[in-house]
Protein backbone atom coordinates (compact mmCIF):
# COMPACT_ATOMS: atom_id res chain seq x y z
CA UNK A 1 0.00 0.00 0.00
CA UNK A 2 1.19 3.47 -0.88
CA UNK A 3 0.02 6.56 0.99
CA UNK A 4 0.91 10.10 0.01
CA UNK A 5 -0.31 12.59 2.62
CA UNK A 6 -0.43 16.37 2.03
CA UNK A 7 2.69 16.24 -0.10
CA UNK A 8 3.99 19.68 -0.98
CA UNK A 9 6.89 20.62 -3.22
CA UNK A 10 7.70 24.10 -4.46
CA UNK A 11 10.45 24.80 -6.97
CA UNK A 12 12.28 28.15 -6.99
CA UNK A 13 10.47 29.18 -3.79
CA UNK A 14 10.45 32.94 -3.30
CA UNK A 15 11.68 33.65 -6.82
CA UNK A 16 9.64 35.18 -9.66
CA UNK A 17 9.37 31.84 -11.42
CA UNK A 18 8.12 30.02 -8.31
CA UNK A 19 6.33 26.83 -9.24
CA UNK A 20 4.13 24.78 -6.96
CA UNK A 21 4.67 21.27 -8.29
CA UNK A 22 2.79 19.38 -5.59
CA UNK A 23 0.03 21.24 -3.78
CA UNK A 24 -0.89 19.23 -0.67
CA UNK A 25 -1.39 16.13 -2.75
CA UNK A 26 -3.20 13.19 -1.15
CA UNK A 27 -3.22 9.81 -2.81
CA UNK A 28 -3.68 6.26 -1.55
CA UNK A 29 -3.03 3.11 -3.51
CA UNK A 30 -4.24 -0.17 -1.99
CA UNK A 31 -2.05 -3.24 -1.97
CA UNK A 32 -2.30 -4.92 -5.34
CA UNK A 33 -3.94 -1.92 -6.95
CA UNK A 34 -2.80 -0.68 -10.37
CA UNK A 35 -3.16 3.10 -10.55
CA UNK A 36 -2.71 5.02 -13.80
CA UNK A 37 -1.70 8.67 -13.47
CA UNK A 38 -2.52 11.11 -16.27
CA UNK A 39 -2.32 14.87 -16.54
CA UNK A 40 -0.95 17.56 -18.78
CA UNK A 41 2.69 18.61 -18.75
CA UNK A 42 3.61 20.36 -15.52
CA UNK A 43 0.72 18.78 -13.60
CA UNK A 44 3.19 17.26 -11.13
CA UNK A 45 3.23 13.64 -12.30
CA UNK A 46 7.00 13.30 -12.49
CA UNK A 47 7.49 15.28 -9.29
CA UNK A 48 5.13 12.92 -7.51
CA UNK A 49 6.94 9.85 -8.84
CA UNK A 50 10.31 11.31 -7.88
CA UNK A 51 9.02 12.11 -4.43
CA UNK A 52 7.77 8.55 -4.00
CA UNK A 53 11.06 7.05 -5.20
CA UNK A 54 13.02 9.40 -2.95
CA UNK A 55 14.90 11.17 -5.74
CA UNK A 56 13.24 14.45 -4.72
CA UNK A 57 12.75 15.43 -1.06
CA UNK A 58 9.35 16.87 -0.13
CA UNK A 59 8.97 20.31 1.45
CA UNK A 60 6.26 18.91 3.69
CA UNK A 61 3.96 15.92 3.87
CA UNK A 62 4.50 12.19 4.26
CA UNK A 63 4.96 9.16 2.12
CA UNK A 64 4.31 5.71 3.55
CA UNK A 65 4.74 2.31 2.00
CA UNK A 66 2.85 -0.58 3.62
CA UNK A 67 2.34 1.67 6.64
CA UNK A 68 6.03 2.56 7.15
CA UNK A 69 6.91 6.23 6.84
CA UNK A 70 9.70 6.52 4.24
CA UNK A 71 9.59 10.32 3.82
CA UNK A 72 13.19 10.74 4.94
CA UNK A 73 14.58 7.47 3.61
CA UNK A 74 17.23 7.94 0.88
CA UNK A 75 16.70 6.47 -2.59
CA UNK A 76 18.99 3.49 -2.18
CA UNK A 77 17.25 2.36 1.00
CA UNK A 78 13.79 2.86 -0.43
CA UNK A 79 14.87 0.70 -3.34
CA UNK A 80 14.46 -2.32 -1.06
CA UNK A 81 10.70 -1.80 -1.48
CA UNK A 82 10.36 0.20 -4.70
CA UNK A 83 11.26 -0.77 -8.23
CA UNK A 84 11.17 1.76 -11.02
CA UNK A 85 11.20 1.80 -14.80
CA UNK A 86 12.28 5.14 -16.23
CA UNK A 87 11.00 6.82 -19.37
CA UNK A 88 14.46 6.93 -20.90
CA UNK A 89 15.69 3.42 -21.76
CA UNK A 90 19.25 4.66 -21.10
CA UNK A 91 18.45 5.50 -17.48
CA UNK A 92 17.15 2.19 -16.24
CA UNK A 93 20.11 0.00 -17.15
CA UNK A 94 23.88 0.09 -16.76
CA UNK A 95 24.96 0.44 -20.40
CA UNK A 96 28.57 -0.72 -20.07
CA UNK A 97 27.59 -3.87 -18.21
CA UNK A 98 26.17 -7.10 -19.58
CA UNK A 99 22.53 -8.20 -19.58
CA UNK A 100 23.27 -10.79 -16.89
CA UNK A 101 25.10 -8.26 -14.71
CA UNK A 102 22.14 -5.88 -14.96
CA UNK A 103 19.82 -8.69 -13.93
CA UNK A 104 22.12 -9.41 -11.00
CA UNK A 105 22.02 -5.79 -9.84
CA UNK A 106 18.23 -5.83 -9.85
CA UNK A 107 18.20 -9.24 -8.20
CA UNK A 108 20.17 -7.84 -5.26
CA UNK A 109 18.01 -4.73 -4.93
CA UNK A 110 16.45 -5.73 -1.65
CA UNK A 111 19.12 -8.01 -0.23
CA UNK A 112 22.55 -7.44 1.26
CA UNK A 113 25.34 -7.72 -1.26
CA UNK A 114 28.08 -10.13 -0.18
CA UNK A 115 31.57 -11.02 -1.31
CA UNK A 116 30.44 -14.24 -2.95
CA UNK A 117 30.47 -14.68 -6.70
CA UNK A 118 27.74 -12.63 -8.35
CA UNK A 119 26.85 -14.55 -11.48
CA UNK A 120 26.69 -18.19 -10.42
CA UNK A 121 25.19 -20.97 -12.52
CA UNK A 122 21.93 -21.02 -10.57
CA UNK A 123 21.33 -17.31 -11.13
CA UNK A 124 22.26 -17.46 -14.81
CA UNK A 125 19.73 -20.24 -15.36
CA UNK A 126 17.10 -18.19 -13.54
CA UNK A 127 17.83 -15.07 -15.62
CA UNK A 128 17.66 -17.08 -18.83
CA UNK A 129 14.30 -18.37 -17.75
CA UNK A 130 12.89 -14.98 -16.82
CA UNK A 131 14.17 -13.24 -19.96
CA UNK A 132 12.78 -15.93 -22.24
CA UNK A 133 9.29 -14.88 -21.13
CA UNK A 134 9.77 -11.70 -23.18
CA UNK A 135 10.28 -13.57 -26.42
CA UNK A 136 12.95 -11.13 -27.58
CA UNK A 137 15.82 -13.59 -27.57
CA UNK A 138 17.53 -11.74 -24.73
CA UNK A 139 17.98 -15.06 -22.91
CA UNK A 140 20.68 -15.94 -25.47
CA UNK A 141 22.46 -12.62 -25.07
CA UNK A 142 23.25 -12.70 -21.37
CA UNK A 143 26.88 -11.70 -22.00
CA UNK A 144 26.01 -8.87 -24.40
CA UNK A 145 26.62 -5.38 -23.14
CA UNK A 146 23.36 -3.51 -22.69
CA UNK A 147 24.62 -0.58 -24.80
CA UNK A 148 24.35 -2.86 -27.83
CA UNK A 149 20.63 -3.49 -27.30
CA UNK A 150 17.90 -1.44 -28.94
CA UNK A 151 15.77 0.96 -26.91
CA UNK A 152 12.88 -1.49 -26.86
CA UNK A 153 15.09 -4.35 -25.72
CA UNK A 154 16.60 -2.21 -23.00
CA UNK A 155 13.20 -1.12 -21.77
CA UNK A 156 11.95 -4.71 -21.76
CA UNK A 157 15.03 -5.68 -19.77
CA UNK A 158 14.34 -2.79 -17.35
CA UNK A 159 10.85 -4.12 -16.84
CA UNK A 160 11.95 -7.70 -16.15
CA UNK A 161 14.56 -6.28 -13.75
CA UNK A 162 11.93 -4.17 -11.98
CA UNK A 163 9.27 -6.84 -11.49
CA UNK A 164 11.77 -9.44 -10.27
CA UNK A 165 11.69 -9.98 -6.53
CA UNK A 166 8.08 -8.69 -6.32
CA UNK A 167 8.68 -5.13 -5.06
CA UNK A 168 6.16 -3.60 -2.63
CA UNK A 169 5.63 -0.84 -5.15
CA UNK A 170 6.31 -0.62 -8.88
CA UNK A 171 6.75 2.83 -10.44
CA UNK A 172 6.38 3.14 -14.20
CA UNK A 173 7.37 6.57 -15.47
CA UNK A 174 5.97 6.85 -19.01
CA UNK A 175 7.98 3.75 -19.65
CA UNK A 176 6.66 3.19 -23.17
CA UNK A 177 6.80 6.83 -24.30
CA UNK A 178 10.21 6.60 -25.96
CA UNK A 179 9.39 3.46 -27.94
CA UNK A 180 7.87 2.89 -31.38
CA UNK A 181 4.18 1.85 -31.28
CA UNK A 182 4.81 -1.86 -31.85
CA UNK A 183 7.55 -2.10 -29.22
CA UNK A 184 5.51 0.07 -26.85
CA UNK A 185 2.70 -2.40 -27.20
CA UNK A 186 5.03 -5.32 -26.53
CA UNK A 187 6.43 -3.71 -23.39
CA UNK A 188 2.95 -2.75 -22.22
CA UNK A 189 1.67 -6.33 -22.64
CA UNK A 190 4.65 -7.64 -20.70
CA UNK A 191 3.96 -5.06 -17.99
CA UNK A 192 0.32 -6.01 -17.60
CA UNK A 193 1.19 -9.71 -17.56
CA UNK A 194 3.75 -9.22 -14.80
CA UNK A 195 1.59 -6.89 -12.73
CA UNK A 196 -1.39 -9.27 -12.93
CA UNK A 197 0.58 -12.40 -12.17
CA UNK A 198 2.52 -10.93 -9.28
CA UNK A 199 -0.34 -8.74 -7.97
CA UNK A 200 2.01 -5.78 -7.79
CA UNK A 201 0.98 -2.46 -6.32
CA UNK A 202 1.71 -0.27 -9.35
CA UNK A 203 1.71 3.41 -10.13
CA UNK A 204 2.01 4.15 -13.83
CA UNK A 205 2.37 7.60 -15.34
CA UNK A 206 1.32 7.84 -18.96
CA UNK A 207 0.39 10.30 -21.67
CA UNK A 208 -1.24 7.56 -23.67
CA UNK A 209 -4.99 7.83 -23.01
CA UNK A 210 -5.67 4.46 -24.59
CA UNK A 211 -3.36 2.85 -22.05
CA UNK A 212 -5.11 4.75 -19.28
CA UNK A 213 -8.48 3.44 -20.50
CA UNK A 214 -7.38 -0.14 -21.17
CA UNK A 215 -5.20 -0.86 -18.19
CA UNK A 216 -5.24 -0.46 -14.43
CA UNK A 217 -7.91 -0.38 -11.78
CA UNK A 218 -8.11 3.35 -11.31
CA UNK A 219 -7.29 6.46 -13.35
CA UNK A 220 -5.91 9.38 -11.36
CA UNK A 221 -5.76 12.73 -13.08
CA UNK A 222 -3.38 15.33 -11.70
CA UNK A 223 -3.70 19.04 -12.30
CA UNK A 224 -1.56 21.80 -10.81
CA UNK A 225 -0.13 19.48 -8.18
CA UNK A 226 -3.35 17.96 -6.86
CA UNK A 227 -5.69 15.14 -7.77
CA UNK A 228 -8.35 16.61 -10.03
CA UNK A 229 -10.22 13.45 -10.87
CA UNK A 230 -10.30 9.80 -9.89
CA UNK A 231 -12.14 7.16 -11.86
CA UNK A 232 -12.24 3.66 -10.39
CA UNK A 233 -14.45 0.58 -10.14
CA UNK A 234 -17.48 0.49 -12.46
CA UNK A 235 -16.82 3.90 -13.96
CA UNK A 236 -13.30 2.86 -14.97
CA UNK A 237 -14.76 0.05 -17.07
CA UNK A 238 -17.01 2.46 -18.95
CA UNK A 239 -14.58 5.30 -19.50
CA UNK A 240 -13.48 6.18 -23.02
CA UNK A 241 -10.58 8.13 -24.42
CA UNK A 242 -12.91 10.97 -25.46
CA UNK A 243 -14.31 11.25 -21.93
CA UNK A 244 -10.85 11.37 -20.43
CA UNK A 245 -9.62 13.99 -22.83
CA UNK A 246 -12.67 16.10 -21.96
CA UNK A 247 -11.24 16.59 -18.50
CA UNK A 248 -8.05 18.21 -19.74
CA UNK A 249 -8.02 21.98 -19.54
CA UNK A 250 -5.97 22.17 -22.70
CA UNK A 251 -6.82 19.59 -25.32
CA UNK A 252 -4.50 18.68 -28.10
CA UNK A 253 -5.05 16.53 -31.12
CA UNK A 254 -2.12 14.42 -30.03
CA UNK A 255 -4.17 13.05 -27.15
CA UNK A 256 -6.94 11.87 -29.44
CA UNK A 257 -4.41 10.51 -31.89
CA UNK A 258 -2.84 8.57 -29.08
CA UNK A 259 -6.01 6.52 -28.91
Amino acid sequence: MLEIRSARKVFYAGQPDEKVALDNLDLTLQTGEFGVVIGSNGAGKSTMLNAVSGALPLDSGQIAINGDDVTNTPVHLRAKRIARVFQDPMLGTAASMTVAENMLLADLRSSKRTLSRGLNAKRLADYKDRLSALGLGLENRLDTKVELLSGGQRQSLSLIMAVGGSPDLLLLDEHTAALDPRTADLVMQATVRAVDTLKLTTLMVTHNMAHAVDFGHRVIMLDAGRVKLEIGGEDKANVTVAKLVDHFAVKTDAMMLGA
Partner: protein, 310 residues
Protein backbone atom coordinates in the same frame (compact mmCIF):
# COMPACT_ATOMS: atom_id res chain seq x y z
CA UNK B 1 74.00 5.74 -38.40
CA UNK B 2 74.69 2.05 -37.74
CA UNK B 3 76.86 3.08 -34.86
CA UNK B 4 74.09 5.19 -33.35
CA UNK B 5 71.63 2.32 -33.58
CA UNK B 6 74.01 -0.18 -32.06
CA UNK B 7 75.01 2.11 -29.19
CA UNK B 8 71.39 2.98 -28.53
CA UNK B 9 70.50 -0.68 -28.55
CA UNK B 10 73.34 -1.61 -26.19
CA UNK B 11 72.45 1.01 -23.61
CA UNK B 12 68.75 0.20 -23.96
CA UNK B 13 69.32 -3.50 -23.32
CA UNK B 14 71.46 -2.65 -20.30
CA UNK B 15 68.53 -0.67 -18.91
CA UNK B 16 65.88 -3.35 -19.47
CA UNK B 17 66.00 -4.98 -15.98
CA UNK B 18 65.99 -1.64 -14.13
CA UNK B 19 63.16 -0.35 -16.29
CA UNK B 20 61.18 -3.53 -15.82
CA UNK B 21 61.48 -3.22 -12.03
CA UNK B 22 60.37 0.40 -12.32
CA UNK B 23 57.34 -0.53 -14.43
CA UNK B 24 56.18 -3.20 -11.99
CA UNK B 25 56.35 -0.68 -9.16
CA UNK B 26 54.62 2.11 -11.07
CA UNK B 27 51.93 -0.22 -12.41
CA UNK B 28 50.18 0.35 -9.07
CA UNK B 29 49.83 4.08 -9.76
CA UNK B 30 48.43 3.23 -13.18
CA UNK B 31 45.95 0.95 -11.40
CA UNK B 32 45.19 3.82 -9.04
CA UNK B 33 44.44 6.03 -12.05
CA UNK B 34 42.49 3.39 -13.98
CA UNK B 35 39.97 2.54 -11.24
CA UNK B 36 38.50 6.04 -10.83
CA UNK B 37 38.76 6.93 -14.53
CA UNK B 38 37.35 3.76 -16.02
CA UNK B 39 35.48 1.86 -13.33
CA UNK B 40 33.92 4.75 -11.44
CA UNK B 41 33.79 7.47 -14.14
CA UNK B 42 35.35 9.73 -11.52
CA UNK B 43 38.31 11.49 -13.22
CA UNK B 44 40.67 11.80 -10.29
CA UNK B 45 44.01 13.54 -9.79
CA UNK B 46 44.61 12.47 -6.21
CA UNK B 47 47.30 9.98 -7.28
CA UNK B 48 49.73 12.85 -7.89
CA UNK B 49 49.53 13.52 -4.13
CA UNK B 50 48.86 10.00 -2.87
CA UNK B 51 51.98 8.59 -4.55
CA UNK B 52 54.44 10.88 -2.70
CA UNK B 53 52.28 10.52 0.43
CA UNK B 54 52.89 6.78 0.37
CA UNK B 55 56.57 7.42 -0.30
CA UNK B 56 56.98 9.92 2.55
CA UNK B 57 55.17 7.74 5.09
CA UNK B 58 57.16 4.70 4.10
CA UNK B 59 60.43 6.68 4.20
CA UNK B 60 59.79 8.09 7.66
CA UNK B 61 58.70 4.73 9.08
CA UNK B 62 61.68 2.87 7.65
CA UNK B 63 64.05 5.54 8.93
CA UNK B 64 62.45 4.94 12.33
CA UNK B 65 63.26 1.24 12.04
CA UNK B 66 59.77 -0.05 11.25
CA UNK B 67 59.40 -3.30 9.34
CA UNK B 68 59.33 -2.48 5.58
CA UNK B 69 56.17 -4.52 4.91
CA UNK B 70 54.44 -2.75 7.76
CA UNK B 71 55.59 0.59 6.33
CA UNK B 72 53.92 -0.30 3.03
CA UNK B 73 50.69 -1.21 4.81
CA UNK B 74 50.77 2.12 6.66
CA UNK B 75 51.29 3.96 3.36
CA UNK B 76 48.39 2.01 1.85
CA UNK B 77 46.08 2.97 4.71
CA UNK B 78 46.99 6.66 4.49
CA UNK B 79 46.52 6.61 0.71
CA UNK B 80 43.09 5.10 1.25
CA UNK B 81 42.16 7.94 3.59
CA UNK B 82 43.40 10.55 1.10
CA UNK B 83 41.21 9.01 -1.62
CA UNK B 84 38.23 8.94 0.73
CA UNK B 85 38.73 12.68 1.36
CA UNK B 86 38.72 13.46 -2.37
CA UNK B 87 35.52 11.48 -2.86
CA UNK B 88 33.92 13.15 0.15
CA UNK B 89 34.86 16.64 -1.07
CA UNK B 90 33.17 15.83 -4.37
CA UNK B 91 30.06 14.19 -2.91
CA UNK B 92 29.40 16.50 0.02
CA UNK B 93 30.19 19.87 -1.57
CA UNK B 94 29.34 18.95 -5.17
CA UNK B 95 32.78 20.09 -6.29
CA UNK B 96 33.94 18.75 -9.64
CA UNK B 97 36.00 15.57 -9.28
CA UNK B 98 39.03 17.10 -10.99
CA UNK B 99 38.98 20.16 -8.73
CA UNK B 100 38.48 17.95 -5.67
CA UNK B 101 41.56 16.00 -6.76
CA UNK B 102 43.62 19.15 -7.31
CA UNK B 103 42.62 20.47 -3.88
CA UNK B 104 43.59 17.20 -2.24
CA UNK B 105 46.87 16.97 -4.16
CA UNK B 106 47.81 20.53 -3.20
CA UNK B 107 47.01 19.99 0.46
CA UNK B 108 48.86 16.68 0.45
CA UNK B 109 52.05 18.46 -0.65
CA UNK B 110 52.15 20.37 2.65
CA UNK B 111 51.13 17.28 4.58
CA UNK B 112 53.92 15.29 2.95
CA UNK B 113 56.44 17.98 3.92
CA UNK B 114 55.11 17.93 7.48
CA UNK B 115 55.38 14.15 7.63
CA UNK B 116 59.02 14.15 6.55
CA UNK B 117 59.99 17.45 8.15
CA UNK B 118 62.26 18.11 5.17
CA UNK B 119 62.04 17.84 1.43
CA UNK B 120 63.90 14.58 1.11
CA UNK B 121 65.01 11.71 3.27
CA UNK B 122 67.57 9.04 2.54
CA UNK B 123 66.93 5.50 3.75
CA UNK B 124 69.74 4.03 1.72
CA UNK B 125 71.00 0.74 3.10
CA UNK B 126 67.91 0.14 5.24
CA UNK B 127 66.07 -3.15 5.07
CA UNK B 128 63.49 -3.33 2.28
CA UNK B 129 60.92 -5.82 1.04
CA UNK B 130 63.16 -6.48 -1.96
CA UNK B 131 65.71 -8.13 0.33
CA UNK B 132 63.19 -10.89 0.93
CA UNK B 133 63.04 -12.08 -2.65
CA UNK B 134 63.73 -15.81 -2.83
CA UNK B 135 66.63 -17.34 -4.79
CA UNK B 136 68.32 -14.09 -5.82
CA UNK B 137 70.93 -11.77 -4.45
CA UNK B 138 69.26 -8.80 -2.78
CA UNK B 139 69.78 -5.36 -4.24
CA UNK B 140 69.64 -6.34 -7.90
CA UNK B 141 66.79 -5.35 -10.21
CA UNK B 142 65.75 -9.00 -10.47
CA UNK B 143 64.78 -9.07 -6.81
CA UNK B 144 62.66 -5.97 -7.32
CA UNK B 145 61.01 -7.46 -10.39
CA UNK B 146 60.15 -10.59 -8.42
CA UNK B 147 58.77 -8.81 -5.34
CA UNK B 148 56.84 -6.08 -7.15
CA UNK B 149 55.68 -8.60 -9.75
CA UNK B 150 54.34 -10.96 -7.09
CA UNK B 151 52.46 -8.16 -5.33
CA UNK B 152 51.13 -7.00 -8.71
CA UNK B 153 49.92 -10.48 -9.58
CA UNK B 154 48.20 -10.76 -6.20
CA UNK B 155 46.50 -7.37 -6.71
CA UNK B 156 45.39 -8.35 -10.21
CA UNK B 157 43.89 -11.64 -9.04
CA UNK B 158 42.25 -10.05 -6.00
CA UNK B 159 40.63 -7.27 -8.05
CA UNK B 160 39.58 -9.68 -10.79
CA UNK B 161 37.83 -11.72 -8.12
CA UNK B 162 36.38 -8.72 -6.30
CA UNK B 163 34.84 -7.05 -9.35
CA UNK B 164 32.88 -10.23 -10.06
CA UNK B 165 31.45 -10.53 -6.56
CA UNK B 166 28.08 -9.05 -5.65
CA UNK B 167 29.72 -6.05 -4.00
CA UNK B 168 32.17 -5.57 -6.87
CA UNK B 169 29.41 -5.68 -9.47
CA UNK B 170 27.55 -3.01 -7.50
CA UNK B 171 30.70 -0.84 -7.45
CA UNK B 172 31.00 -1.07 -11.22
CA UNK B 173 27.32 -0.21 -11.62
CA UNK B 174 27.91 3.08 -9.80
CA UNK B 175 30.47 4.02 -12.46
CA UNK B 176 28.28 2.85 -15.31
CA UNK B 177 25.03 4.56 -14.29
CA UNK B 178 24.80 6.18 -10.83
CA UNK B 179 21.05 6.91 -11.04
CA UNK B 180 20.31 3.31 -11.95
CA UNK B 181 22.66 2.00 -9.26
CA UNK B 182 20.88 4.06 -6.66
CA UNK B 183 17.48 2.85 -7.86
CA UNK B 184 18.81 -0.69 -7.42
CA UNK B 185 19.57 -0.06 -3.77
CA UNK B 186 23.28 0.71 -4.10
CA UNK B 187 24.68 3.59 -2.06
CA UNK B 188 26.53 5.82 -4.50
CA UNK B 189 28.29 7.51 -1.59
CA UNK B 190 29.73 4.38 -0.06
CA UNK B 191 30.76 2.91 -3.41
CA UNK B 192 32.44 6.10 -4.60
CA UNK B 193 34.30 6.64 -1.33
CA UNK B 194 35.51 3.06 -1.12
CA UNK B 195 36.39 2.95 -4.82
CA UNK B 196 38.38 6.19 -4.93
CA UNK B 197 39.95 5.30 -1.58
CA UNK B 198 41.05 1.95 -2.96
CA UNK B 199 42.58 3.65 -6.00
CA UNK B 200 44.58 6.12 -3.91
CA UNK B 201 45.67 3.23 -1.69
CA UNK B 202 47.28 1.67 -4.75
CA UNK B 203 48.99 4.95 -5.67
CA UNK B 204 50.38 5.25 -2.15
CA UNK B 205 51.55 1.63 -2.23
CA UNK B 206 53.40 2.41 -5.42
CA UNK B 207 55.11 5.36 -3.74
CA UNK B 208 56.14 3.18 -0.81
CA UNK B 209 57.54 0.49 -3.09
CA UNK B 210 59.42 3.12 -5.09
CA UNK B 211 61.00 4.66 -1.99
CA UNK B 212 62.25 1.27 -0.86
CA UNK B 213 63.58 0.66 -4.34
CA UNK B 214 65.42 3.94 -4.83
CA UNK B 215 66.52 4.32 -1.21
CA UNK B 216 65.15 7.81 -0.62
CA UNK B 217 61.88 9.68 -0.31
CA UNK B 218 61.27 13.09 -1.87
CA UNK B 219 58.23 15.38 -1.62
CA UNK B 220 58.53 16.10 -5.34
CA UNK B 221 58.61 12.47 -6.40
CA UNK B 222 54.98 12.67 -7.56
CA UNK B 223 55.61 15.41 -10.08
CA UNK B 224 54.20 14.30 -13.42
CA UNK B 225 53.33 10.81 -12.21
CA UNK B 226 49.73 11.30 -13.29
CA UNK B 227 50.48 12.03 -16.91
CA UNK B 228 52.96 9.13 -17.02
CA UNK B 229 50.29 6.89 -15.57
CA UNK B 230 47.68 8.08 -18.06
CA UNK B 231 50.04 7.47 -20.95
CA UNK B 232 50.75 3.97 -19.64
CA UNK B 233 47.04 3.27 -19.16
CA UNK B 234 46.24 4.31 -22.72
CA UNK B 235 48.99 2.16 -24.16
CA UNK B 236 47.79 -0.75 -22.06
CA UNK B 237 44.21 -0.33 -23.18
CA UNK B 238 45.29 -0.05 -26.79
CA UNK B 239 47.19 -3.35 -26.46
CA UNK B 240 44.96 -5.56 -24.33
CA UNK B 241 41.66 -3.70 -24.71
CA UNK B 242 39.08 -2.90 -22.06
CA UNK B 243 36.13 -4.96 -23.13
CA UNK B 244 36.05 -7.21 -20.11
CA UNK B 245 36.90 -6.88 -16.45
CA UNK B 246 40.15 -8.84 -16.62
CA UNK B 247 41.36 -7.01 -19.72
CA UNK B 248 40.68 -3.66 -18.08
CA UNK B 249 42.60 -4.82 -15.01
CA UNK B 250 45.50 -6.16 -17.05
CA UNK B 251 45.84 -2.91 -19.04
CA UNK B 252 47.68 -0.98 -16.26
CA UNK B 253 50.36 -3.66 -15.95
CA UNK B 254 50.91 -4.16 -19.66
CA UNK B 255 50.77 -0.40 -20.24
CA UNK B 256 53.29 0.36 -17.51
CA UNK B 257 55.74 -2.20 -18.90
CA UNK B 258 55.52 -0.92 -22.48
CA UNK B 259 55.47 2.76 -21.56
CA UNK B 260 58.61 2.67 -19.42
CA UNK B 261 60.42 0.58 -22.03
CA UNK B 262 59.57 3.28 -24.58
CA UNK B 263 60.84 5.97 -22.22
CA UNK B 264 64.02 4.02 -21.66
CA UNK B 265 64.46 3.65 -25.42
CA UNK B 266 64.07 7.41 -25.88
CA UNK B 267 66.66 8.08 -23.18
CA UNK B 268 69.01 5.49 -24.64
CA UNK B 269 68.68 7.21 -28.01
CA UNK B 270 69.93 10.40 -26.39
CA UNK B 271 66.73 12.32 -25.76
CA UNK B 272 67.39 14.95 -23.07
CA UNK B 273 65.42 13.95 -19.92
CA UNK B 274 63.75 17.40 -19.57
CA UNK B 275 62.04 16.83 -22.94
CA UNK B 276 60.38 13.66 -21.64
CA UNK B 277 57.40 15.43 -20.13
CA UNK B 278 56.68 17.27 -23.37
CA UNK B 279 56.93 14.02 -25.29
CA UNK B 280 54.64 12.22 -22.83
CA UNK B 281 52.14 15.07 -22.89
CA UNK B 282 52.07 15.08 -26.68
CA UNK B 283 51.65 11.35 -26.67
CA UNK B 284 48.66 11.44 -24.30
CA UNK B 285 47.17 14.28 -26.34
CA UNK B 286 47.56 12.26 -29.52
CA UNK B 287 45.91 9.21 -27.93
CA UNK B 288 42.99 11.34 -26.72
CA UNK B 289 42.67 13.18 -30.02
CA UNK B 290 42.81 10.07 -32.16
CA UNK B 291 39.08 9.19 -32.02
CA UNK B 292 38.11 12.75 -32.92
CA UNK B 293 40.68 12.90 -35.73
CA UNK B 294 39.39 9.62 -37.12
CA UNK B 295 35.84 10.98 -37.18
CA UNK B 296 36.99 13.92 -39.23
CA UNK B 297 36.66 17.60 -38.60
CA UNK B 298 32.92 17.87 -39.26
CA UNK B 299 31.99 15.53 -36.43
CA UNK B 300 34.71 16.85 -34.15
CA UNK B 301 32.25 18.89 -32.17
CA UNK B 302 29.85 16.05 -31.50
CA UNK B 303 29.50 14.88 -27.91
CA UNK B 304 32.15 12.42 -26.80
CA UNK B 305 29.59 10.00 -25.43
CA UNK B 306 29.24 6.57 -26.87
CA UNK B 307 26.14 6.01 -28.89
CA UNK B 308 24.14 2.85 -28.75
CA UNK B 309 22.84 1.05 -31.77
CA UNK B 310 19.13 1.13 -32.36
Amino acid sequence: MMEFISSTFTSYVALVPVTLAQSFILAFVVMGIMIPFRTLQFPDLTSEGAYPLGGCICGVLIAAGVNPALAILAALACGFLAGCCTALIHLRFRIHTLLAGILMMTMLYSINLRIMGKSNLSIFGSDSVYNWAPFVTPGFPVSKIIVAGLIGAAVFLALNWFFKTEKGTALRAVGSNPAMAEAQGISVWVSTIVGVGLASAFSATSGALMVQSQGFADVNMGLGILINGLAALMIGEAVVGKKSVWRQLLAPFVGAIIYYQLVSLCLAAGMPPPDLKLATGLFVLAMLALPSLKRGRGAGGSPAREKFRE
